[in-house]
Symmetry: C2
């Protein structure tokens, strides 16, 4: 009984995210005794020891494999690197004849389906047929999302899917001409990194988007579209979305697990951006029961056509609640997201109990200016400060990512009884990690 | 009570089909008393008189409108030409206050949804929300089809969705290396015009594809992919499909109407290609009841996720039956196809009765070498030869398209009691229209 976990990423034909290897090591949180973990880069032993210490998985029972780093092998683990004959041999010898009961990729790539087939266990990958024929693109496209979300009748910001310059100018002008702010969203980016705001007035602070461009009249909009065409379309390859941006909204998500048996609710959360997604709060602290119910019901409605298409796996439905209290969906993500391990491992397994009722999980990236020399040093400082997660009180800090050597940072999750307590812990963490 | 029929075509950002205006005049077959018909080009009066004479619609009750031909206005009627203020004024004055009960486009374009909204009758367009956000692309993409068809578990030829050169070379080599023939299919073309065959051996005659390229080894496949990359991807814009080509197969379709209430079966047909689609036979003459049942059942299964997404309209599920009797689906088309008027107007309304049991409809393009000076002359020759459709015997020839001035041809439909009788009529038609 072995699961194969794969820390893969978006197929690089959709999107490239250089050096995402450290980030995708989070798949290790899902490892149980005996599992095989395939990662794009060799993880630090400190990280593996830490994760397995937290989950109670025996480190010695896990096998970690990294495909050979031939020239040009992508960090995404897509393409043919997973079915390289030598690497398949390594997998087979690590399996040592044990049956594979599941293959769990972060991203439902066709390459994972080919891996499942090459190992002779196609049925171990839920939704294999859909993934094998490139279905992952439909689950992570903001333009496919707009069509399907409109079709199932969930709330949506006004806007359009755009594919040509004239239509884009029209769509932006329709918004800015009415005094609204427009957001342009690339098809396959995430966390707001592929979003840009066009405002008729200065002074808008970008939340959920990289930056703001002021364009109030047709000439300015035409110029903007011309300037940014290549970026918006990934060099002419993809459509994109133009929609109304609602300043002052609260961003949130409802995540589900789509299986052969049905659609299981996972968790709700709030997302904070400054300007792109940095933190999440599970459960969302600010919403009424009615809004949460709507978020769940409409999120579930979004899952239905995806389940009908043959997708099996996690789906996060992302939305905003506007200052007027309107619930508007902004995208979906059919993959294991940056929230999945937080609620399903930290919440359900480590914190346990009725964590969605009696605890707050406050998780995410470090603010600018925080850093630490190494993963071990982060653990040491947390321990000395008495801030490491404590199983008795069910509170404290869980380090949630591998160490990102590009800027010497981590992600962490504060588990607390309330958001204000979590914020107090954050202040103490600033004392440990903020540059002095 | 007015329907607005729109003879539009694929959005030109997906695909351009120059001079498709004559072809899209077929929407006129659906016109009933009082309807408004929007066409890309002014139709010949001969054609309108003929069509309304056949359907029993009063010609004088119809209004035909053509959007102003400003510079660059596409034949597809997409973009903003339908919501041009002056044109909207013409539509409103043609409606003269009558309520619009339906808007029926050939293609579920976002521009049609904008028209419906601009006229203040959004609910007149079934599936408006999905169409408005670009859903049409998902219904007519061969790559989205592959994912969804695999996901719902219908039969599919072996193959993959491709987006990069290396993966394409792999996919083609996997087939030709095993002695199979590969077909490469562009995302948004139709009738086989976007398909090309790569064979390891010479002598394959292309059916359902434009042409055949011989490539037996890796070097030849690499060269082929490099040479054709721009064509396959529409200049880097779209993914495409590589799948096994089964020579000697019979091509067929099952068409459905997806509504709020459910999925209605329309008709089956066989498609003949020489090499691209030229003729259709409704019902298909060569299939067993079991194959027809499978075609209907699996075709219906393909409709389910599209209905769940919010599409409302016709869907044709196209398949082949291999020499081994396997039923394999090859694409779907979510639009009013070149078959819809044949079964639903010629069959159900003109021929009537139990036409799927006691008649054969043999319809399509003229063979190379046939021509006629004008539409009226075609009618005259058919009449003199006693071949025009006769309501008493429920047999004869129906002209099914407007006149194509590019090569002085038409499409026609022979209605006969059997396929062999239809072929006899075809021989007599050769005498009337083949160049002497």
């Amino acid at each position: 009984m072995v699961k194969i976990l794969v820390g893969n990423d978006f197929d690089e034909v959709l999107r490239t995210r250089p050096a995402s290897g450290w980030w995708n090591q989070r798949v290790t949180w899902f490892a149980e005794d005996g599992d095989l973990v395939i990662l794009p880069a060799r993880p630090e032993e400190s990280f593996l020891r830490y994760v397995t210490g937290m989950t109670g998985t025996r480190r010695s029972s896990l096998r970690v494999l990294v495909p050979p780093a031939e020239e040009g092998r992508p960090d995404t683990l897509s393409g043919s690197c997973l079915v390289d004959e030598e690497f398949l041999g390594q997998i087979r010898s690590a399996l040592a004849g044990r049956p594979v009961t599941g293959i769990v990729p972060l991203w439902p790539s066709a390459s994972i389906a080919r891996l499942a087939r090459a190992l002779g266990v196609p049925e171990a990958l839920a939704g294999r047929e859909f993934a094998e024929q490139g279905g992952g693109a439909l689950l992570n496209s903001k333009t496919a999302f707009r069509a399907i979300a409109a079709g199932v009748g969930v709330g949506l910001p006004c806007g359009r899917v755009c594919a040509d310059r004239d239509g884009t100018v029209d769509a932006v002008l329709e918004l800015v001409g009415a005094g609204h702010i427009a957001m342009l969203k690339k098809d396959y980016m995430s966390g707001g990194a592929g979003n840009e705001i066009v405002s008729p007035v200065p002074g808008v602070s970008p939340v959920g988007a990289k930056n703001v461009v002021v364009a109030a009249d047709e000439a300015a909009v035409v110029r903007y579209v011309e300037d940014r065409w290549d970026w918006l379309t990934d060099g002419g390859r993809h459509q994109f979305v133009v929609e109304r941006y609602h300043p002052g909204s609260v961003a949130c998500f409802a995540e589900f697990l789509i299986t052969d048996d049905g659609i299981e609710f996972g968790a709700h959360g709030e997302m904070l951006s400054e300007p792109v997604t940095t933190k999440q709060i599970i459960p969302p602290p600010a919403f009424s029961g009615q809004v949460l119910d709507d978020l769940t019901d409409q999120g579930r409605r979004l899952c239905e056509p995806l389940r009908a298409m043959g997708y099996r796996g996690r789906l996060s439905a992302d939305a905003i609640v506007t200052p007027d209290g309107e619930l508007l969906f902004t995208e979906y993500n059919g993959r294991i997201t940056g929230s999945t391990h937080v609620y399903s491992v930290f919440g359900e397994k480590i914190v346990g109990g009725d964590f969605m009722k009696d605890r707050v999980l406050f998780e995410g990236f470090w603010p600018k200016g925080w850093s630490v020399p190494s993963f071990d040093e982060a653990v040491r400082r947390l321990t000395e400060a008495g801030l490491v997660y404590d199983r008795g009180s069910r509170t404290g800090v869980i380090i949630s990512s591998a160490f990102d050597r590009r800027d010497d940072t981590l992600l962490h999750c504060v588990v607390a009884e309330s958001l204000s307590e979590a914020r107090t812990v954050e202040e103490r963490l600033a004392g440990l990690f903020a540059a002095r």
